[in-house]
Symmetry: C2
Subunit: 400 residues, 2 copies
Amino acid sequence: MPIPPRNETSTASPSGISTITVDLDDRSYPIVINSGQTNATDPSGFATHFREALGDCTHAIIVQDTAIAASAGNAVADALGTDDTFGTDDTQGTAGQGNDDLRLSVIDVASGEPSKSTDRIAQLWNEMLDTAADRRSVVIAVGGGVIGDLAGFAAATFTRGLRLVQVPTTLLAMVDSSVGGKTGINLPGGKNLVGSFWQPHLVWIDTDFLKTLPEREYVSGLAEVIKYGVIEDAEFFDYLESNITAILDRAPEPTRHAIARSCESKARVVADDERETTGRRAILNYGHTFAHAIESTAGYGAFLHGEAVSIGMQMAAELSVRLGRCPAELLTRQTALLDAAGLPLRWKDADVEKMIAVMARDKKVAHGKLRFVLPDRIGNVELVGDVPADLVSAAIEACR
Amino acid sequence: MPIPPRNETSTASPSGISTITVDLDDRSYPIVINSGQTNATDPSGFATHFREALGDCTHAIIVQDTAIAASAGNAVADALGTDDTFGTDDTQGTAGQGNDDLRLSVIDVASGEPSKSTDRIAQLWNEMLDTAADRRSVVIAVGGGVIGDLAGFAAATFTRGLRLVQVPTTLLAMVDSSVGGKTGINLPGGKNLVGSFWQPHLVWIDTDFLKTLPEREYVSGLAEVIKYGVIEDAEFFDYLESNITAILDRAPEPTRHAIARSCESKARVVADDERETTGRRAILNYGHTFAHAIESTAGYGAFLHGEAVSIGMQMAAELSVRLGRCPAELLTRQTALLDAAGLPLRWKDADVEKMIAVMARDKKVAHGKLRFVLPDRIGNVELVGDVPADLVSAAIEACR
């Protein structure tokens, strides 16, 4: 049985749609979570929410993942194209709403991390110009994290900034990368080294898009969901313990609830520290310092991101127990929940020395000292500096 | 005889240094205008102002124009390298100021518009990574508008944003592009189509850097200086009429004053409309709609930007007179001042039809209607829409 959202940023309608507001003054925006409403013709559909958030838009550019998200992109295009306010058939906008017709362009981007390159962004900028985009154009990113990051950075920079709508189609993107305004691309020398903080005007999360997501990817996304419970929402952790089976079955109601609570967590943290200046946003990196070292030493692609995060959370909890910062029960509960979700708990090939070397180069390291986000209880983490290297080694060892 | 600045954003010290504040809440920053103080060892030098604006900086990347600004870049590097707070010789920072040593990197960029390309920005990002830049690094752009725009965009986007110092070395960059936060690059399809609004933390204007600027470039920069008088500072226009000869001689005091008043004008406009959302910033485009059409139809490079702006201001004033929006005396005074500055007043090869076709494609055109920034008196302009094409033609004809 679901528990109600713990604050008033979320409002649920009878149809199961809930809206969370990311509170950032004049950059505030709604996250609308629903199941199968993209094409709804009543006021619960995408077109209505798009019009509310982007009233004067006359040109939208759908940037979509060719392989995975084309059906989602088509759904979005259909929703906008057949809406009688935005018809592409020369229908004038509804009187009084001030909308001209909406012109739609579609740009395809190949799946996968290689698309987050300097070459691809340059090509995307030119493709956007080819659509005759101007400053009133809106970019709609439809796909997983790669598309959201790339299209988001293109939106941030084309004519010094276009409005952006995120339509995530993977669980990971729904609960993490589509919310919070981080956009960017990779350099050969490292990931996400170039980008902008650029908040969307709307995040549209339709859980129907998850129906075709491969099981391994879906499970991987659950690592970030469980993370929110550990870092700042103990009640949500309880909920996940009770409902993990239904969520694994992708039952609409608990899936929407899990996504909504995750987005609420992220929205709270982002509202406190939009541009990573106060340090609060660092708590989102729980498990991630280890995870990046796992991904880097295993070779990118060996683990899905969420899988590495799951093992990384286990290492972080092991470390926290060793530092006497949290009871062993926390580790027990986290282990059980990650395991129930089907996530990996250990990496038998972990190379302790190599992982520590990678962590020492991590951009979150201050002056060469190892820092970790560590839990003291379910629902609270702290940034801990100056951690002895031998305990870090022991924590990694414990997860081999 | 100089008149005092008309508001309190400018403070002049006995040494002739004046500081103007660009008032943008938490993005406010000083513009420091001086003559030959870059290397000063007393508190009037660059190092002091840098330390005040960027106290915790431990790594600065000088991005400089190879051909033109290397001597200025060297002066900046010397100023930081020999300052006893920032010494690169392992001297610790002055107690209580919290500064570590400052590490300096230098990146050379070729002169000229072709450097504002997607290829060059990708290379620059990689070069910055090669310097081991991190989020606390500071970019110092030393050069003309091309370097400021390119290095500024790199600063805006590397690790989602580094702090930026602008050290303009051309008159045009001093009075225009270094102030206000516009950064960007070109696409093959058009100029400045990609970029960010990214405010610097400090603009350092040393008029000594102008000593080696070619006469034609210096005069070109005066077009933008005179523009500020027309658009929003009648008193400054008077001053320029009285002091244009001394300014042409590059006498330090009147040159500093002309730059300071120009920067004050720009700072006021930018403070009202940082991101071009209210429309106020459009007044900075006085003469520019015509100028872009001149540059585009003449082929980029035939005119320097300021030369095209000078002719464009004449066309705009001719248009305003024809529309009955301003007295002929305005045109007479503007003509006399531009002429006294050595700027061109007409373009005998202007192709009226081609120019109007270019203007119809300009991004400042709303729904295909020609809009112009037009003066009604010296010191005030308005954005005027729906201008009859035949009067535009006549205004161009009048300047052939």
